[in-house]
């Protein structure tokens, strides 16, 4: 058991999976000698050699497209896309091929692929380094979408993702890469994809969130002094509808929090599901605290864009007052 931050926890998960399974290899821009721009793959090329930790050309479609080929060829590639803003060039290979190959071939060519992607804002980065596109991929059948909010979860979920026989986009909230440490077992553990975590229990209201926003939610809950249940989805698709339903049936009130723009964000899906499944249990309309429907501003204003404890707190109060 060690006290690790998220970068270290992911690094450890990668080491352990690579040791366990020869078929696992890493590829991407700067993942080798440099250990990735966030140092997540630090030391891995030295440890496993340049065959298993490969610096690729600067071409995201190429990274994902060749990784699909690697996976079709029986390996378990774990490509890194340097920032979520650079998923764009790889969109077609992800959505038209990785997500479809199993169905297209009626199972003859599954694509066990785990795409690691730092995600989200809050680190004072340049443009296109601070976005939250999880809803885009959650709307793409054939993919799984995972986003941990803590070092412990990151390790267990990454192991599950790498072992998953289907393509997974593994979003790593860069804002909490090094924000805190927690106990992370050296020993192997797997957190199942599709299961949420109840961060804290409560009776008055349910908050559903994921990724770095979970931290903001915890702050807001602390400040509110109310009995609030916080559900960290951990997985965006498939999402744990049961956990959400059970909680909302109990509390009757719900606030959903995410960094991505409001309109068409994954909060909309959760909100709709809650209405569909818990209609008669709702005391108030489900509320969403989300990024605005604007381009994520350059960093001078990024904190005004992202949901913070104050905005979440206001929504809690409003829902409680309803």
């Amino acid at each position: 058991m060690a006290n690790l931050n998220m970068v270290q926890a992911i690094n450890l998960a990668l080491i352990q999976e690579m040791e366990k399974d020869e078929r696992v290899l890493l590829l991407g821009e700067d993942v080798g000698n440099n250990g990735g721009v966030f140092r997540v793959t630090e030391g891995l090329q030295k440890r496993f050699g340049p065959k298993r930790v490969v610096d690729t050309p600067l071409a995201e479609s190429g990274i994902i497209g060749t990784a699909i080929g690697l996976a079709m060829g029986g390996l378990r590639p774990v490509p890194e896309i340097q920032f979520e803003g650079f998923l764009g060039p790889a969109y077609d290979q992800i959505c038209s091929h990785a997500a479809r190959m199993r169905t297209r071939t009626r199972g003859a060519f599954p694509v066990p692929l785990t795409i690691r992607v730092p995600v989200g804002g809050g680190i004072h980065a340049p443009e296109l380094h601070s976005d939250s596109p999880e809803a885009i991929y959650a709307h793409t059948p054939g993919l799984k979408v995972v986003m941990p909010s803590s070092p412990y979860d990151a390790k267990g979920l990454l192991v599950a993702s790498i072992r998953d026989p289907d393509p997974v986009i593994f979003f790593e909230p860069k804002r909490i890469y090094r924000a805190f440490r927690e106990e992370v077992p050296e020993d192997e553990y797997v957190l199942p994809i599709g299961k949420a975590r109840t961060v804290c229990e409560g009776n008055d209201l349910t908050i559903v969130s994921w990724g770095a926003s979970v931290i903001q939610c915890m702050q807001a809950i602390e400040k509110s002094g109310k009995s609030i249940e916080l559900i960290d989805l951990r997985t965006i698709y498939p999402f744990d509808a049961d956990a959400v339903e059970t909680s909302v049936r109990k509390t009757g009130r719900c606030v959903i929090v995410h960094e991505a723009p409001l309109t068409g964000g994954f909060g909309a899906e959760i909100s709709s599901r809650i209405m569909e499944r818990c209609f008669l249990h709702l005391e108030a309309p489900v509320q969403r605290v989300a990024g605005f429907d604007t381009i994520m501003p350059y960093y001078k204003l990024e904190l005004d864009y992202m949901p913070d404890a104050a905005r979440i707190g206001r929504a809690i109060d409003d829902v409680m007052a309803y």
Binding site: K51, P57, T66, M72, H97, R102, R106, G194
Partner: protein, 379 residues
């Protein structure tokens, strides 16, 4: 020396059996044993025949859009003939001939164009990937597949086919660039048939040759007469040998022509000169092989007639198999979505509904709650 030469290169062009029937002994002798030549001809013939049948199936409403391969048989066939059985063949949709040579059953191709994914459920031992609909995207998979083989220390290579239009896509560039810089043994074959639907070749590549696309990556490049099975075999030997021994990629432009429309949804007479089409009919890859075989006394009208008879039966059987397959169930499109179906998706499958009341009729009954004392303030 203020002006020096930084780089210098040239690209050879190979032609062995030309449309006039000239045969270059130096390159051609012993290249294809007679018995094989006969088989290759038969393969082209059968593929051509299927093409015609498929066209008529579409016209009579028994099949969806279908892209005829007619005229381009010698390109992929040359590749399939040369490649080892376990080399990957990663194609687009005009490479039926090569795929059939490898053992892909005709009905797989038919089923695909009949709108049935089972046509793509190809056994892995064919080392062939499914038909690639989005243009220019499959070459990256070829690079990845060859990379996987290299990773395992196997001598397997990949050969990927694409059209002249496909070379305009960014993914083509990235596939070639990855292979070149990461030392991955892929043979890139562009079937330059001068058209991408209605768009003429110079809009895709205004350079003197498509072959020179490969120079950008430092690859050896060749241009060959793609309607000459000897030339395609010769080029594929050079290229696959290079890929296998050097572990590096190779670029071949095979110059060819589609004699038919782009697909059955197209009408090429809208954009192509009749004269152009006619001139290419004279360059047909089948005719010149047949004449060559006749000169060598390997072939005659009787054999041709016998082949036709065999082929008609073969194709009719394939069509029957494709048409007689049981209709798929709706649930089939759920079943290969994931190795394990998420609960949510299983519910959709089991109810064939997406509306929650439809998925859970119990919810409807639950309006009884309304008449019970309200648990919550306003319900």
């Amino acid at each position: 020396m203020p002006i020096t030469i930084a780089f210098k290169t040239e690209i050879p062009r190979i032609s062995i059996l030309d449309e006039q029937g000239n045969f270059d002994e130096k390159l051609g002798k012993g290249l294809i044993p007679d018995a094989d030549l006969v088989k290759l001809y038969e393969a082209m013939f059968q593929c051509r025949h299927l093409d015609g049948v498929a066209f008529r199936l579409q016209r009579s409403g028994r099949m969806g859009t279908y892209p005829q391969n007619m005229g381009q048989e010698a390109t992929s066939l040359g590749a399939a003939y040369v490649l080892a059985k376990n080399d990957w063949l990663v194609t687009c949709y005009r490479e039926n001939c090569g795929l059939f040579w490898r053992g892909v059953p005709m009905e797989s191709i038919l089923l695909h164009w009949m709108g049935d994914e089972r046509g793509n459920a190809m056994p892995r031992e064919h080392f062939a990937t499914p038909i690639a609909v989005p243009i220019g995207t499959q070459m990256l998979h070829a690079t990845g597949l060859a990379w996987a083989a290299k990773y395992r220390g196997e001598k397997q290579i990949a050969c990927t086919f694409f059209g002249d239009g496909a070379t305009s896509e960014g993914d083509f560039h990235e596939a070639a660039n990855f292979a070149a810089n990461l030392d991955i043994p892929v043979v890139f074959v562009c079937q330059n048939n001068f058209w991408a639907i209605s768009v003429p070749g110079h809009i895709q590549c205004s350079a003197p040759t498509v072959a020179q696309r490969g120079i950008a990556y430092g690859m050896p490049c060749l241009q060959v007469d793609g309607n000459d099975i000897f030339a395609t075999v010769y080029a594929m030997r050079m290229a696959s040998e290079h890929a296998r021994t050097q572990g590096k990629p190779y670029f071949i432009e095979m110059v060819t022509y589609r004699l038919g429309d782009h697909t059955t949804a197209d009408d090429a007479s809208r954009y192509r000169d009749k004269a152009e089409v006619e001139s290419w009919k004279g360059k047909d890859p089948l005719i010149r092989v047949r004449k060559h075989m006749e000169r060598l006394k390997l072939w005659d009208d009787k054999k041709e007639a016998e082949l036709l008879e065999r082929t008609e039966k073969l194709v009719a059987e394939a069509v029957a198999r494709a048409e007689n397959i049981a209709a798929p169930h709706s649930v089939d499109f759920f079943n290969s979505m994931y190795a394990e179906l998420p609960a949510d998706l299983a519910l959709q499958r089991d109810t064939m509904q997406t509306h929650s009341l439809g998925q859970d009729p119990g919810q409807l009954a639950s309006t009884d709650h309304l008449n019970a004392p309200a648990e919550h303030a306003h319900h």
